[in-house]
């Protein structure tokens, strides 16, 4: 089925809440993982998979005209798995096996281990190049689809991102949309303190991209900008959406503590988080 049905913002917000809870349960059960990096991108991924942005068929996961979604910030694997499960790619019960030996939901995504997982990521910096390859292949094959790549902000310190950025503009990849989850923190601290990225808008613009900025937790705004980016395909200019987000969004004590980066919540913390996510409007 094409997920192009109209859906209300309220319904989308409900899905976003489910994904947040899925991420919490998965990482808490596994005792490790990156909940805060997953939570910052929940609204972005919700809009993509459930807001009629991506065209996909869960029953035919490798449909050759599917829109591609590449999770370049592979440590947000729990978010990817939860979205794929809720989109119908596989059973929700698989989520409980995150990070277990023999499980197809590995700590970081491995291409093809689960239907819908497009790329092996986790060594940061690699997803944008893959997206360009999909665009060039689709163009050569005469297939019409869009390619969405979710980048982390710290990931943009990697040289390959800028190699890819340069070539995306050169190859006029108008159907390539990158979304930058700009939560302002990398593993060891605030990005501005560690390896600053600013001026980010000007950097991407100077590499030949059309740059948008959006509040990455405002579902209406995120949805609007994703649809706009798709409509700009004919310009031949790759589209960058810098989504301003909050690391750990939805759980106040995680938002306030960047050291949660690669760390699951304790059972007591998880209980508090569950209450807070459920209580949110």
């Amino acid at each position: 089925m094409d997920k192009t049905d109209n859906i209300s913002i309220e319904e989308l917000a409900g899905i976003a809440k489910e994904l947040r809870l899925d991420i919490l349960e998965m990482t808490t059960r596994a005792g490790s993982g990156h909940p805060s990096s997953s939570w910052s991108a929940v609204e972005i991924v919700t809009a993509l998979y459930f807001g009629g942005v991506l065209r996909y068929k869960p029953q035919d996961p490798w449909w050759d005209e599917r829109d591609r979604f590449i999770m370049s910030k592979g440590h947000a694997a729990p978010l990817l798995y939860a979205a794929l499960a809720r989109a119908g790619y596989f059973d929700l019960k698989e989520l409980s096996r995150l990070r277990e030996a023999g499980s197809p939901v590995q700590g970081h995504p491995i291409r093809g281990l689960m239907p819908g997982v497009e790329a092996t990521t986790g060594s940061l910096g690699q997803g944008l190049s893959l997206g360009i390859g999909h665009v060039l292949g689709g163009r050569l094959a005469g297939k019409k689809f869009h390619v969405f790549v979710l980048l982390g902000d710290g990931e943009c310190e990697a040289g390959q991102i800028w190699e890819a950025a340069m070539s995306a503009a050169h190859f006029k990849t108008g159907n390539l949309v990158a979304i930058l989850d700009y939560n302002k923190y990398q593993e060891t601290g605030p990005i501005s303190r560690e390896i600053g990225l600013e001026p980010l808008v000007e950097k991407w613009h100077s590499f030949g991209w059309n740059v948008h900025e959006v509040n990455g937790h405002d579902l209406q705004a995120v949805l609007g900008i994703l649809h706009l980016a798709k409509q700009l395909e004919a310009t031949g200019i790759p589209q960058m959406i810098i989504a301003h987000t909050i690391k750990g969004k939805g759980v106040s004590f995680v938002e306030a503590d960047f050291t949660f980066h690669g760390r699951a919540l304790t059972l007591e913390q998880a209980e508090l988080a569950r209450e807070e996510i459920n209580a949110a409007g």
């Binding site: 591609r68 690699q126 893959l130 390859g133 999909h134 292949g137 050569l140 094959a141 340069m166």
Partner: protein
């Protein structure tokens, strides 16, 4: 000394890289799924032949090997069969992690071609030489690894690659290599070593240009009454264990020869099989722990002891050890 002359091999005056370029062009003509990506070295690797005839199926990704590998892997995700080509040194050393995740761990169908393997690119010097490529490829478990040693086997390897499940590495070279096999009906099966000379006193196992050098060495040894078997181990993965075990059991002595560091290359793979199946005296011809300098390729081979004479000397030595044992 002309490679293959002592062994009576038919000379080929076309460098192996040109043979590769022509074979790739033939493949692109025949197989519409094949696309070619290069890192701005198409005039050296000879992917330029494809670029000239099929510009829409050729992508120069520029001097950006990480992106080159990623874009190529992405094209596989869109249904194409990519040949990702550059110098072995730059491609593997710059983009090892990209090859590891996007190609090897993803287990996609794609071929990586490392051109200018070994030291015989010569005068451009050690920064350009791929002397560690086979060791690096060995660290990527899903790859098939092929080191063709003559024009016909290069042609066969390029033809075979898209039919192999999972990723493939082919080593190409700047220098000509003489014909070991006829161009038509080449006995080339991936994973099946070729016995190119019979003999029972020892076995010389080589890959790439060292197969011809091994045949020359066998000619030198024959004048001293030593009959060497010579095996072309063109596939390092899958490794033809049966042929290696047969060499150990039937000839009782093995010399390995490769245009590569001794560390982690063909010889160490062969040694592992010999050690665990039928231990016999072994000797190794290759680069000891050293980089090589600029120079004429044939002078460099002599200076770094990678010639037929060096193989023959090791052969005599290993036969003596065998006799004394």
């Amino acid at each position: 000394m002309q490679l293959g002359k002592l062994a009576g091999l038919q000379e080929c005056d076309v460098p192996l890289r040109n043979i590769f370029g022509d074979a790739l062009l033939d493949l692109v003509r025949e197989n519409p799924r094949v696309v070619v990506l290069d890192g701005d070295l198409g005039n050296s690797t000879k992917t330029e032949y494809v670029r000239q005839e099929f510009p829409e199926r050729f992508f120069n990704i520029g001097i950006a090997e990480s992106n080159l590998v990623g874009v190529g892997a992405g094209m596989a995700g869109a249904g194409f069969y990519p040949f990702i080509v550059s110098f072995s040194s730059f491609l593997l050393c710059n983009a090892y992690d990209q090859i590891r995740l996007a190609v090897a761990m993803s287990d996609i169908d794609a071929t990586i071609v490392g051109s200018h393997g070994g030291i015989t690119l010569g005068k451009d010097g050690p920064t350009q030489m791929g002397i560690e490529d086979l060791a690096l490829m060995g660290g990527l478990p899903t790859f098939t690894i092929i080191v063709p040693g003559d024009p016909a086997s290069m042609q066969a390897a390029v033809r075979a690659a898209p039919n192999i499940k999972g990723p493939v590495f082919i080593r190409s070279s700047r220098v000509p290599m003489p014909y070991i096999y006829p161009e038509k009906n080449t006995p080339f099966v991936v994973g099946k070593a070729n016995r190119v000379r019979e003999g029972n006193d020892l076995t010389i196992i080589g890959c790439g240009m060292m197969v011809s050098a091994g045949l020359d060495a066998a000619a030198i040894l024959a004048k001293k009454g030593i009959e060497a078997r010579v095996v072309d181990l063109h596939s390092l993965r899958p490794l033809d264990r049966e042929e290696i075990i047969a060499a150990a059991e039937e000839t009782g002595a093995v010399v390995c020869a490769e245009e590569h560091l001794l560390q982690g290359g063909m010889g160490s793979n062969v040694a592992r099989v010999v050690a665990e199946s039928h231990p016999v005296p072994m000797r190794f011809v290759g680069l000891a722990d050293t980089y090589v300098e600029s120079g004429d390729p044939w002078e460099l081979l002599e200076k770094y002891h990678l010639t037929a004479a060096d193989i023959a000397q090791k052969g005599e030595e290993v036969v003596k050890v065998k006799a004394g044992a």
